[in-house]
Every structure is written in structure tokens, then in C-alpha cells.
């Protein structure tokens, strides 16, 4: 499956899905006007990739500086899809980057992890820029 890339904008993250290496990167800001529309194609690419994966070691890096309430719903869906991929026999590590002072993003990641506990959840604090 071909790699999938969308460059960052002021309000939407860079999507760098290297399916060939089983590395998926999401980084930047996430407050698009319509998160469901922005992430629609991204989630469908991910679903295609996960459907073809069976016993892969997948690394997911999420480094979002900020995400708005409608992006939050998408992240929930993303965790769910990755968790299902573990049930299907894959091994998924989720590196969850957050600003060291930003407890909200850390707590959100931890909360979701308690719901989707098959993921290897790895919170990583980044020092203030």
C-alpha cells in the first residue's frame, strides 16, 4: 500500500503515514473547521492499511500541540481502530507526545488508554519550546 502524506497547515496537522515501514505520524495543530471532513480520508486510508495488516509491529507517533473538541472525537476513533488492530493480531505502540506542562493532553491520552488497553501506550513529555 502506498504511503500517505498531507502537509501541515496552520490549523491541521501533518499526516505522514509510512505504511511501507509501519510507522504512522500525526503532528502539529488540529482545529480544522470540520474535523470529520478533514479526517475522513485519513481514517479511511488507515482502515485500508489496518485491514491488510495481520501480524505487524506498528509504531504510531501522535504529537499534537493542540486539538479542538471536534478533533477529539476523531482521536477517540483512531485509538479504537488501533486497539482493534491489536485484537486482529498486530502489535501497536502509541507514542503520545505532550508538552510537559500540558496535563490536559496527557490526561486525555491516559484516559483513552484505559479504554483501549491493548495498545502499548507511551506518553512522552516534550520540554517547553
Amino acid at each position: 500500500m502506498e504511503d500517505f502524506y498531507i502537509p501541515a497547515s496552520a490549523m491541521s496537522p501533518e499526516i505522514d503515514f509510512r505504511f511501507s515501514n509501519n510507522v504512522l505520524n500525526i503532528r502539529g495543530e488540529s482545529y480544522p473547521e470540520n474535523a470529520a471532513a478533514f479526517y475522513g480520508q485519513i481514517l479511511s486510508q488507515l482502515a485500508l492499511y489496518l485491514a491488510s495488516a495481520g501480524s505487524k509491529k506498528i509504531e504510531v507517533n501522535v504529537a499534537l500541540r493542540y486539538f479542538n473538541s471536534s478533533s477529539t472525537k476523531i482521536l477517540l476513533r483512531l485509538f479504537e481502530m488501533l486497539n482493534d488492530a491489536v485484537s486482529a493480531g498486530n502489535d501497536v505502540t502509541l507514542n503520545w507526545y505532550h508538552d510537559e506542562e500540558d496535563d490536559t493532553i496527557l490526561e486525555f491520552g491516559e484516559d483513552l488508554h484505559s479504554d483501549y488497553e491493548l495498545l502499548h501506550f507511551n506518553p512522552i513529555a516534550i520540554p517547553e519550546a
Partner: protein
Amino acid sequence: MKNRNNLMDLEGFSEFRDAAQKQGILFFYNGYFSQNIIAAMADAVRYRIGSQDAKGSTTRRVFSTFIEMAQNIIHYSAENLTDENAVDREMRFGTVTIGRQGDSYFVVCGNVVPEHAVPILAEKLDSIRGMSMDEIKAAYKETLRSESESSSKGAGLGLLTMARDSTQPIEYSFVNLPEKGNAFFYLKAII
């Protein structure tokens, strides 16, 4: 002092600026909101709050509240330049301000809403105002899991996000407008 009642002369503008400063206003915008305008303001807001030596978590909460309020305006203000049913590239009218009083920050927004939305908003906001922080977090989680991605543009979760980021209950008021069928809606969050 001529034309004071008609035009804003520089002395009048100076008074306006001083009054804003006395209120602790750090940022004020009154005009059309589009996604691109919000993105430009977002930079200004981050620098402005960041320069106040606020804690990183405070800056993030102020920023988050600002974005949720501004996106509510582009989705729900009754004064729109774009089609009523548009979900994208919307352009609607509203006001937003950010200020500081002592160690607290406030974010206030205002926009016109249709009268039929008033009781719905009031009920949602009263319910949130009556919640403890633990209840707000629980309601946030529940709403996050129950709202489908496609249904609402997200108002329920947006209001809960503001409440979660606030240190005091969010305040609101509705002001009747002379034009029939609409009301002016104000929302205030303290962080």
C-alpha cells in the same frame, strides 16, 4: 472635542483604548469569523497570553477556550454571509475578547442567535453550571463517546470543553434585540 458624537476622533480613540486597558483587555475582535481569520488570531492570542508569563497550562486553557468560542461563532452565529446549511468555509459575525484580572484570565464572546435556540442553550448551560469539576469531566467523557462524528457540529462537547478548562462556572446571558426572532448571546469563561 468636535464631532465627538459622530466620529471617533483620536482623543475618543485614546479613551476607548484606556477603558479597554482598565478592563484588562489583552485582545478584542469584532467582525466576521472564518477559519482563516481564526488561525491568524490564534497566533496573536498565543503570543499575547504567552507574553503575560502565564503558566503553560493556563495559556493552553485560554487558547482552547478562545478556539471553541470562535468556532461556535462560525458554526452558530445567526449573522452569516454563507449558506445557512454550510458546514465548510463559513463566515459569520461575532465578537470575542480576552482579558486579565489579577491572576485570572477571562474569555468572552458574543453573537446573535435565533430566538428558538435560546431555551436550548440556556438549558445546556444551566446544566453545566450546576456541575462540579468531576461531573463536568464525567459528562465530557460521556458526550465524547455518545456524540457521533457526523451529527452535531459539536456544540455540546465544545461547551463542556470550555467548562473543563475554566476555574469558575461559565456565565452567560441573552439580550433581546429590536429585530424580531433573534437575541444576542454572551458567554464568559474564567481561567
